[in-house]
């Protein structure tokens, strides 16, 4: 298997310093993303950081944050976007595909097995009640994430951000309006408000 050392003409020139180390080949890249994916319950990000920055040293903490900021800036599942960004920086299109598959193939296989089991046993009372308990906990986890994310927008001086968040919640959560319409109005508005605040 050929090593996928990044070609100097490739994306790695975007970094002032090259990543300290590189995966030895597509297989190691795949396995690393598979491992971080299968380690991550309720979110893969902490594991991605741990494995890429601390364990394998494929990126410095700063490079990781910068690449993840891009993945977050774009729509779609953040960590999946990150796999494409990271893979392409390491080894171009092939790297992007390998990292993407490493991240998604194992959990997809696992969840299809669970889906088959659910289709067969999902109506059993005991399982029903257990899943209901898990759903209650899952809701709690989301509430905790909201609380953590909200801290900055309630910092003084207050901006329009809390109102924007409230509007999005009511439109999508309570009124159940289609997401594209709601974001079509709120996203440009919110971006314009924050641009205006940055200028001030």
């Amino acid at each position: 298997m050929p090593p996928i050392a990044a070609d100097s003409s490739d994306a790695s020139t975007q970094f002032e310093t090259r990543p300290p180390l590189l995966p030895s080949g597509p297989f190691e890249l795949f396995l690393t993303f598979a491992k971080m994916s299968l380690s991550g319950f309720g979110g893969v990000l902490p594991w991605a950081r741990r494995m890429i920055v601390e364990d394998r040293r494929w990126m410095s903490a700063e490079e990781f944050n910068e690449a993840f900021a891009l993945a977050q800036f774009l729509p779609g599942p953040n960590i999946v976007n990150f796999s494409a960004v990271f893979g392409s920086r390491i080894a171009g299109p092939l790297g992007a595909v390998v990292a993407f598959l490493g991240l998604l193939a194992p959990p997809t296989a696992v969840v299809i097995v669970l889906a088959i089991l659910y289709a067969r046993y999902g109506e059993i009372d005991l399982l029903q009640r257990a899943l209901e308990g898990v759903t209650c906990a899952a809701a709690g986890l989301i509430v905790a994430v909201i609380a953590k994310m909200s801290a900055p927008i309630f910092r003084k001086p207050f901006g329009p951000a809390p109102l924007v968040a409230l509007a999005a919640f009511i439109a999508v959560g309570v009124l159940r309006w289609p997401l594209p319409y709601v974001l079509g109005i709120l996203a440009p508005l919110s971006a314009a408000l924050s641009y205006w605040r940055l200028r001030a």
């Binding site: 309720g42 979110g43 009640r129 759903t135 209650c136 927008i153 951000a161």
Partner: protein, 176 residues
């Protein structure tokens, strides 16, 4: 022919949705709910909540709930199509933007957009939580589980799997 139709529907709906998933897969959950339960009638709200729970119990990215919806609607092929549609297009976008990102990373408009999207993500996550709470929290005990989980997750870095296990056990015992 009918199968082709449903696969195309899955592909189109999830590909479109992925471009409006600001703040990740969980932020798009209310839209998945609207699509699968309210618009298409593919499943009941309880089944949807079950799938969210199963997705949480599966290691890997939270977007994996899409795979479960796809499977429910059109079997293994549906699962693969829905997953690829939700994850593929924005990755292609990420691949291309990745090459020009440096040029506008420090641009004020870019920072403004990213800052402007944060409150939207928060609002969408709140909508997700609201849908789950409405569906699953039908008793004071269930609400207590949600509240205690939120507090533990906020103040500690405990692996969520413990919380799911405990909550699942409490549910199985019939205490909710």
């Amino acid at each position: 022919m009918k199968d082709d139709g449903i696969l195309l529907t899955l592909a189109a709906q999830f590909a479109l949705m992925s471009f409006f998933a600001i703040g990740g897969a969980t932020a798009a959950m209310p839209e998945m709910y609207r699509l699968a339960v309210e618009v298409k009638g593919w499943m009941s709200e309880r089944q949807f909540a079950d799938m969210f729970a199963v997705a949480q119990l599966t290691p890997g990215p939270n977007v994996i709930i899409v795979t479960l919806i796809g499977y429910h609607v059109a079997g293994i092929l549906g699962a693969l199509v829905a997953t690829a549609a939700m994850c593929g297009p924005t990755c292609v976008l990420a691949f291309y933007i990745g090459h020009v990102w440096e040029r506008f990373r420090e641009a004020r408009w870019r920072i403004a957009i990213q800052a402007g999207l944060v409150p939207l993500s928060i609002g969408l996550l709140a909508a997700s939580a609201w849908i789950l709470i409405r569906t699953a929290d039908r008793s004071a005990a269930a609400l207590a589980v949600t509240g205690v989980t939120a507090a533990i997750a906020y103040f500690t870095r405990l692996n969520p799997l413990w919380l799911f296990g405990l909550a699942g056990l409490i549910g199985a015992m019939g205490w909710l």
